[in-house]
């Protein structure tokens, strides 16, 4: 009896000792980690509440019928099956978007690179030119520029007025299904300023003694460009190509303004994001639109993975 109480008292003492030590460890753990997590708290709340949570919910919704009013109805893979097999508008949107990506990105990057190389030759007034070329990139995302573009390429717009000076009678570019997409490509190429600035920064990193050595060896300017500039610039080209392509997949405002939200004429400017918007907020097919969103993610992921996998065959990295 007595010994038992002794033993238990000892146990309690040991336990108390251990819990004090545990509390000490906890306190140290708290002291070393709490500040970091406190500073990170707003972002963590946003990450769980506005990114991870919603992303999982939208994955669930993509397997349902959901119109905002009634609870989501589980339909299995029906949305995806319909997208893949029985949705001509999806096919149209995909075709328009791919055309836009394939045309706008290479032209934009080529312009950006050519102008950057011209500016990098030590021309006088570099900052002036750079500013002028950059301005459209800065303004280009606004509705005002889309409005302007709609006028420029209208039947009685500025472009046709200029063409008529040469006796050419142009069509109404905006409302012709064969041409409307090209006006959007032109709008994108017009904004080549920001990749140009990144190219300029990249060109600045190439050591000049390489060119000096090459010209001493009698290498022509063209050969120098082909053998020095281009290979050393491939990491920047790669970066610009990936960023611009992802951006092109996500383009929305110009197509919306130019077509009045319809994606017309005859779906010729139906960007993928515009179609997604119509399904979600025009027809309130929230489940279907969620499936469209996840397909967009998969497309962008496949494209990005493909770029990174092929990059080691053409992108030059210093060891």
């Amino acid at each position: 009896m007595n010994t038992a109480t002794h033993a238990s008292a000892a146990d309690i003492a040991v336990e108390r000792h251990q819990s004090v030590r545990a509390r000490g460890r906890l306190a140290r753990l708290w002291a070393s980690n709490a500040p970091g997590y406190l500073f990170l708290l707003p972002w963590l709340l946003g990450f769980f509440g506005l990114t991870l949570g919603p992303a999982l919910v939208s994955l669930y919704l993509s397997f349902t019928d959901f119109d905002l009013i009634r609870a989501p109805q589980w339909t299995g893979a029906a949305n995806y099956v319909r997208i893949a097999t029985a949705d001509p508008k999806f096919a149209a949107a995909m075709q328009v978007t791919l055309t836009y990506v394939v045309l706008s990105v290479p032209f934009k990057l080529t312009f950006a690179l050519l102008v950057a190389i011209a500016l990098n030759r030590g021309v006088k007034g570099l900052t002036f030119y750079r500013a002028i070329f950059y301005l459209p990139s800065l303004l280009g995302g606004s509705v005002a520029i889309a409005v302007l573009w709609r006028q420029l390429f209208a039947g009685d717009g500025l472009v046709n007025a200029a063409l008529s000076q040469f006796g050419i009678e142009g069509p109404s570019w905006i409302s012709h299904p064969n041409y409307s997409i090209y006006t959007l490509v032109a709008l994108s190429v017009w904004q080549f300023g920001s990749p140009m600035i990144i190219f300029l920064a990249g060109l600045r990193q190439i050591p000049t003694d390489m060119y000096e050595a090459a010209s001493l060896d009698g290498a022509s300017k063209f050969r120098q460009f082909y053998k020095i500039t281009l290979p050393l610039l491939t990491p920047v080209i790669f970066f610009n190509a990936v960023v611009q392509t992802i951006d092109a997949f996500k383009a929305f405002t110009p197509a919306f303004i130019i077509s009045g939200g319809t994606g017309g004429p005859i779906n010729s400017t139906l960007f993928y994001t515009l179609y997604l918007y119509q399904e979600a907020f025009g027809n309130f097919r929230m489940g279907y639109a969620s499936a469209l969103a996840w397909i967009l993610v998969v497309i962008i992921a496949i494209f990005t993975a493909f770029s990174f996998l092929t990059s080691r065959y053409w992108v030059h990295y210093d060891d």
Binding site: P35, G36, Y37, F39, L40, W43, L44, L45, G46, L50, T51, P54, A55, V57, S58, L61, L68, N120, R121, G122, V123, K124, L126, Y129, A131, I132, F133, Y134, L135, P136, L138, L139, G141, S142, V143, A144, I145, V147, L148, Q151, L152, G157, L158, A161, A162, S194, I197, I198, I246, D247, F252, T253, G260, L276, A280, M286, S290, A293, L296, V297
Partner: protein
């Protein structure tokens, strides 16, 4: 390369030896022609907004026959609600967004750049991962969430996420900058018993004004230009931002009042142009060092 990346980007380019004067003339001619082609549409829009209405489509020249500001007055009052209201709304949303972005992103960036805690690298990788995710994936559940909170048709869905550092891009930008600040400064402060909060507030932020300004300016411009967010969340015309006001103007007067439309379009570009004029260096450095998209 001992210089900080921020200055090396705008340093003058190396002189090109043995330059051919003829080539130089040709390059200038090409650059000037290209510059004119680039800004001609913009200048034309400005000139269309100040010329007599009947002259807009009859002339490709930039000089109006007479200067007439009546388009601005017609445009300003062209809708049921004046454009003053739309400009004010855009200003409110943009200023709140800038405040949220700068506060929340700098807090997170300080944690990632300077504080030691378990899981830091894990969360940093997650943060970088969120940069890749297109917002369409979170769009619909976020809309449902804000609808249930009764936030639709208020500015809360546009602004509150910024106070939770939803524009992770700016976190990345600030982490890059914070890492360039000498560690000795905050280590010495820590020896003197400074709390992390005081180090953040008294040392990091004052030393980081360039990056904070860059983030603030880009955040302002992107919010000012944003069309998609307001389009989804704002229904009442009293709450419209300038971009939505312009869009309504296009729909209501697509054939009649081009002068008024161009006048309001020009005005809507003024704030962005102002930042371009006075903070060009910061903007260009920001793009060059981080590869920002616009």
């Amino acid at each position: 390369m001992t210089d900080t990346p921020m200055t090396s980007v705008t340093a003058p380019p190396p002189p090109v030896s043995g330059r051919n004067p003829m080539a130089s003339v040709l390059i200038h001619a090409a650059l000037i022609a290209a510059s004119i082609a680039m800004i001609y549409p913009l200048l034309w829009m400005v000139s269309a907004s100040i010329r007599p209405e009947d002259e807009i489509f009859s002339s490709t020249s930039l000089l109006p026959s007479s200067v007439d500001f009546s388009s601005y007055i017609r445009g300003w009052f062209g809708l049921d609600i004046s454009f003053g209201r739309f400009f004010w709304n855009s200003l409110v949303v943009s200023v709140l967004t800038v405040t949220g972005n700068v506060m929340a992103c700098s807090l997170a960036a300080y944690a990632f750049a300077r504080l030691r805690f378990k899981g830091r690298n894990f969360w940093f990788a997650i943060m970088l991962g969120t940069l890749m995710i297109p917002y369409h994936v979170t769009l619909i559940p976020q809309y449902v969430l804000f609808l249930n909170l009764g936030w639709v048709d208020t500015y809360l869905p546009l602004v509150v996420p910024k106070f939770l550092a939803s524009d992770a891009f700016f976190i990345f930008l600030m982490v890059q900058f914070f890492r360039g600040i000498p560690r000795e400064l905050d280590e010495a402060a820590m020896m003197d018993g400074c709390s992390p909060w005081r180090i953040y507030w008294k040392i990091m932020l004052p030393l980081s004004l360039p990056v904070l300004a860059t983030a603030a300016i880009f955040s302002f411009i992107w919010t000012w230009d944003d069309f998609f967010g307001p389009l989804i969340y704002l229904n009442d015309m009293n709450n419209y931002t300038i971009q939505l006001g312009l869009r309504t103007f296009v729909d209501s007067s697509s054939t009649s009042d081009w002068g008024g439309l161009f006048a309001m379009s020009t005005l809507s570009l003024v704030p962005v142009f102002f930042f371009f004029l006075f903070f060009q260096r910061l903007l260009i450095e920001g793009i060059a060092t981080t590869g920002m998209k616009r």
